[in-house]
């Protein structure tokens, strides 16, 4: 085939994407070397001063980063376990199968921030239903949003509610595409459901699982919307994630230069760590 045609297909998309992205990325790098803030809103050059500040004098960023890692890893593990369980349950025949499938999919179709607005009223400490119902059981009101430790778990609950469906969808689509023969063989050998899962289903699902986990980790590493509405990073900085911290530095305090430094460092860490996680996961799950 004439090799010119292939560029006609590829280039529009590629160049639009590069065209939109190239400026912001170069600009971020350049901005990160400047002291642009609300007093001196100009592109001066201050070398790596911002980077020195980040690595020696900004524990808040690193705390927010570890918090983000904790939140995203925890939510993704929970989503994977629950999503896999749900997918297994509605995979084969079960009463009202299609009804349950729709129900399990619904949360991912709803806008996270808008649902979080509802969750806020849901977890309201004196007027919300959760504390009221728990109160009926004799439990003291729980400070869902204003206790530093519990607020993290509230964020996790909301994130798990929101995104388990995505995991469920990817895993169920995977389960439905599995070949039938291994299961027949296992049935002939009289394997118990548990052994069937461990020796047949799980290994067959490993590549799909890895894909799903990586996709979810990528999306979860951007946790921001939920936190923004639910707790605004509070109480104090208890639920502040990296994105949220950069947002505060850049677009609330207008330390654009420093925020660009944070952004760029954050992006590099993200790319490196997600690549490593992808490699490690692939090794772990394929071996089994």
């Amino acid at each position: 085939m004439n090799f010119k045609h292939k560029f006609v297909f590829l280039f529009p998309g590629l160049f639009v994407l590069i065209g939109i992205l190239i400026f912001p990325i170069i600009f971020t790098i350049r901005l990160s070397l400047s002291g642009w803030n609300s007093y001196t809103p100009e592109m001066n050059f201050i070398g790596i001063t911002n980077y020195i500040r980040l690595f020696t004098d900004d524990p808040r960023f690193w705390e927010s980063f570890f918090r983000l890692s904790f939140l995203s890893v925890t939510t993704v593990i929970l989503q994977y376990v629950i999503g896999f369980a749900l997918a297994m349950m509605v995979w084969r025949e079960i009463r009202f199968k299609r009804f349950f499938r729709v129900i399990f999919l619904v949360p991912m179709m709803t806008t996270p921030v808008i649902m979080t607005v509802i969750w806020r009223t849901f977890f309201h400490e004196s007027l919300g239903p959760v504390n009221d119902l728990l109160g009926g059981l004799g439990v003291k009101p729980i400070l869902w949003l204003s206790d530093p430790v519990i607020a993290k778990f509230t964020v996790i609950i909301v994130e798990v509610w929101q995104w388990t469906p995505f995991m469920f969808l990817l895993l169920l689509a995977g389960l439905l595409s599995l070949p039938k023969e291994p299961f027949l063989a296992a049935a002939i050998d009289g394997a118990s459901p548990f052994r069937k899962f461990v020796y047949v289903t799980f290994p067959l699902m490993a590549p799909i699982s890895i894909g799903a986990i990586i996709i979810r980790l990528i999306e979860a590493s951007k946790i921001m919307d939920t936190v923004f509405v639910l707790t605004s990073g509070g109480p104090g900085t208890a639920t502040e994630t990296s994105s949220f911290y950069i947002y505060i530095k850049g677009l609330r305090e207008f330390q654009m230069g420093y925020a660009a430094t944070l952004s760029f460092t954050y992006l590099v860490i993200m790319i490196i760590s997600l690549t490593i996680i992808a490699k490690v996961l692939t090794k772990l799950m394929i071996k089994e």
Binding site: M1, H5, K6, F7, F9, L10, P12, G13, L17, I20, L21, P24, L31, L86, M89, V90, F100, I103, F104, L105, V106, M109, T110, T111, P112, V113, I114, V117, I118, R120, T121, L127, G128, D132, W161, L170, L172, A173, G174, L176, S177, P193, I208, I218, M224, D225, F228, V229, S242, I246, G250, L251, M256, A259, A260, S263, F264, L267, M270, L274
Partner: protein, 282 residues
């Protein structure tokens, strides 16, 4: 053993269903409440616990001057931005995906997989990293606070999804299909347009649904890149949340905003059950 398993299974399914539905039920119930039934004590069931009113729903259609919440315009803005950006992403993404699936590219150490990875890896980009330069960039060219500016940004969000789904899909469409078309005298564009595309409708629908979902639910870019001229739905509802909007109209607006995409859940389920999605999503 198997009885215990069945019990656990139904217990878990019931539990999860209740968990999924709970916030919706709460919002529906709240949307019919008045001041008394929200603020005195927690109430649940209309008529039994409290006397329902339609006040929360009425403010949706009132003009802002009369105390309405004015979500009609943001609604149409959201629909416009989501659909336009999805459409552009799907068209460009599908073309690129077809090229990556059918032809081989070589440029230095760059191969097809690297280009595909470049497209998909744009999802790794945290929105905050792009938002600051976009903020300055769009204000320089005068597109800050405009629909067009948002569409441009949303293409970055959505094209990776379109490419991701369509590359996989095209890899599954047999190559013989386009080869036959070429032998029959089509040029590559006709082969793509007349033969491959009509056979890719399921993939296109899945890609389209995902683009619409991820466009519709995005909040962050709309929040940073628009102010007063243009407001998208999520931004509007969050703005209501931080003002003194009472819970009943807040719940009603939230419900109206999330309602349209719930239909997508039904479409996705149909595709799952027919087995079309399995190929398109793996």
């Amino acid at each position: 053993m198997s009885k215990l398993y069945t019990f656990l299974k139904y217990f878990f399914i019931t539990f999860w269903t209740v968990f999924v539905v709970a916030p919706f039920l709460w919002a529906v119930s709240t949307s019919f409440k008045d001041f008394q039934s929200v603020n005195s004590k927690v109430t649940y069931i209309p008529w039994l616990d409290f006397e329902p009113t339609l006040e929360g729903w009425r403010v949706l259609i009132k003009s802002p001057a009369k105390g309405g919440v004015d979500i009609v315009e943001p609604y149409f803005n959201s629909i416009f931005v989501t659909c336009t950006a999805s459409l552009i992403s799907i068209v460009l993404g599908t073309l690129a995906a077809y090229a990556l699936s059918r032809f081989t590219f070589k440029a230095g150490f760059v191969r097809n997989n690297d280009i595909t990875f470049f497209f998909i890896s744009q999802r790794i980009m945290p929105p905050i990293v792009l938002s600051i330069p976009f903020f300055i960039f769009l204000s320089t060219i005068g597109l800050l606070d405009s629909l067009l500016g948002l569409v441009v940004v949303y293409i970055v969000l959505l094209m990776p999804i379109a490419v991701w789904i369509m590359v996989d899909f095209f890899n599954r469409v047999p190559k013989e299909l386009d080869e036959t078309a070429l032998i029959d005298g089509c040029n590559p564009y006709q082969a793509f347009y007349k033969v491959v595309l009509p056979n890719s409708i399921p993939g296109l629908i899945v890609a389209g649904m995902f683009c619409i979902i991820f466009g519709w639910i995005d909040f962050f870019f709309a929040f940073i890149l628009t102010f007063t001229e243009v407001q998208l739905l999520p931004v509007k509802v969050v703005a209501l949340n931080s003002s003194i909007t009472p819970w009943w109209s807040l719940s009603a607006s939230a419900l109206v905003s999330v309602a349209p995409l719930i239909i997508v859940a039904f479409i996705v389920e149909r595709y799952l059950s027919k087995g079309n999605l399995s190929g398109a999503l793996k």
